[in-house]
């Protein structure tokens, strides 16, 4: 372990980094997608073909680049390979040649949100549910209904679950920031 450098992060920044690592692919047949893409503007992107996570944190991207010892390309940025091994996650320069996919084409154009909801409440309502849950948003009532399942085990029946959550009219306090408004890479 002598060759490793360690990053010391506060709890919240570590949570953000985990959030980005979660979306990196584990599929080695697509090595580029197993990496975090540090863009030239300092934003961090990860995508596994099913989801895309985008984090606007230049401070964290600088820390990662410095720790791994990678100098980003002026136009392409840098790819940082994520190596997940049991309870540890390490980062190293992406050895494979390749270019991170042009994810800009799937970023939605700036548009008002359909609704706004409390992240913790929604996460809490998902906790313990299995399989696929159905969601019904009612714009008039400003509610989100969740129809889920708790799978029965050891002779117990399945339980159908229903949750009613309240949403709010979107009042964007986040300004106009969107990856859609950022310049595309060369």
């Amino acid at each position: 372990m002598e060759n490793y450098k360690y990053m010391q992060l506060d709890t919240n920044t570590l949570s953000d980094l985990k959030f980005m690592v979660n979306a990196a692919s584990k599929d080695e047949s697509h090595p580029v997608l197993t990496a975090l893409h540090i863009r030239p503007d300092g934003d961090i992107v990860s995508a596994d073909g099913f989801r895309l996570h985008w984090l606007h944190d230049q401070e964290l991207s600088t820390r990662i680049l410095e720790t791994v010892g990678v100098t980003p390309d002026e136009h392409e940025g840098a790819l940082i390979k994520v190596v997940k091994c049991q309870k540890t996650t390490s980062f190293e320069p992406e050895p494979e040649e390749g270019r991170f996919p042009d994810v800009m084409r799937i970023i939605p154009p700036t548009a008002p949100a359909t609704f706004t909801i409390n992240a913790k409440k929604l996460a809490d309502a998902m906790d313990g549910l299995e399989w696929i849950a159905s969601f019904a948003f009612d714009a008039d009532a400003q509610t989100l209904e969740v129809f889920g399942t708790i799978q029965g085990r050891k002779g117990s029946p399945d339980y159908k679950t229903y949750a009613l959550l309240h949403t709010e009219q979107s009042q964007s306090e986040l300004g106009d920031w969107s990856p859609y408004n950022l310049p595309a890479l060369d």
Binding site: L52, L55, I117
Partner: protein
Amino acid sequence: MSNFIELGTTEVKALKWLLKNTPPKRAKGPQVLKGVHMNILGGLETYNDQEGDKAEVRSIYPTDNENRATLKDFILQGIGIDEITPGETYPSKAVFFGQVGSTTEITGTFPEEECIDYEPDVKGEPTFALNPKFLKDIMDGFEGQVEVMYNTPTSPLSFRGMTKAGKLAYVVLMPMHLGYRG
């Protein structure tokens, strides 16, 4: 004197999920809200707010429960009641749960307040479908309010908000991750 009932892991999971929607034991407000309503269909329901129109609701119903005891049966057994009265959608009594250390106390002490006559207006027309664990992982990365953008030209579902470290973050789901779209 306590009677102990043994619950299966599924019932414990279902009970925990329900109870997360009840106010804390010492919270102000009607005692009835700290209970779990039981209806004649075997459904159990909780409300987290004393204002009926803004209450957040959770309910569970057993499926395919022929010849199998369900959570409702275990609770009735625990408080010594044979069956709730048929014909009532919402019984006028509530079953109470109180957290005592690491155990859950179930008592038959019914509140004097009447139960809220609140029936969710279930629309039942899904807007989208998604793996709940996957959605929880996404929501765990955010802090506070999250904007949800549905059915945009490039993605069926995307999210924007602040992370726990106070940074802007964006999540875009690809169409194949959704079961279906309304």
